[in-house]
């Protein structure tokens, strides 16, 4: 089995399946914290998919976008956490 087939038939399906499972949690999530952490997790899995895709197409430039995604995931999580706390303070 060549490396190319291995990416196509094993790695991408495993990552895609985990993406679907996390997305189910994103839709169900009883509290807002569940939704925020599953959004964070979706972006982290997509970093893995970008890494596999850049190996598949032999293009190392795609890894720049992975770095950008890591930054966006962190900023989004911190901003959501901050505003959840602020909103709770204002209600009381």
């Amino acid at each position: 089995m060549s490396l190319q087939e291995y990416y196509n038939y094993i790695l991408i399906p495993i990552l895609g399946l985990s993406l679907i499972l996390v997305f189910i949690r994103f839709l169900k999530g009883p509290s807002i914290g569940d939704r925020v952490i599953s959004l964070d997790m979706l972006i982290l899995i997509s970093i893995g998919i970008i890494a596999v895709y850049s190996m598949q197409n032999d293009q190392s430039t795609f890894l720049d976008i992975a770095m950008l995604f890591a930054l966006i995931a962190f900023l989004g999580t911190v901003a959501f956490a901050y505003f959840m706390e602020q909103r709770e303070k204002k209600d009381e």
Binding site: L15, V22, G33, A51, V52, S60, E92
Partner: protein, 132 residues
């Protein structure tokens, strides 16, 4: 030889990510889910990115991969901690199987300050008997 190393690294990474995704669906509580995400996902992503570094075998790609891995390792626990703290303040229900809640009564509900023995803070936590 190189191909086998790439296959082993990326397969282990993908399996770690898959186990995290299954745990996200089956854990009963927000706190447990955040706890799982910040540990297993960083390990899985680190392995997948390391396999990319082995594949390209180039200094510029390797430094980029190391910087991504370092950034994720630094920021994922911080984000998880902030999210868990705000989930605790918004009184997200705790799983009924949790035995003790050590933070109960330790936070000032007004200013969100933690109780400390060294400083004179406005709140006084009630003493809970931990021996039982």
């Amino acid at each position: 030889m190189n191909e086998i190393l790439i296959m082993i690294l990326s397969t282990m990474g993908a399996l770690f990510v898959l186990s995290t995704a299954i745990a996200m669906l089956t854990k009963p509580d927000v706190y447990l889910r955040i706890n799982v995400t910040t540990k297993a996902a960083t390990l899985g992503l680190g392995l997948i990115l390391a396999s990319a570094a082995v594949y390209f075998a180039d200094i510029s790609v390797t430094t980029r991969v190391i910087s991504i891995i370092l950034f994720i390792f630094l920021t994922a626990p911080i984000g998880g901690h902030m999210l868990m703290r705000s989930a605790y303040f918004t009184k997200t229900p705790i799983w009924s199987g949790t035995k003790i809640d050590e933070l109960a009564g330790q936070y000032d509900p007004e200013t969100h300050e933690l109780y400390s023995e060294d400083h004179d803070t406005s709140i006084k936590p009630e003493i809970t008997d931990k021996s039982t």
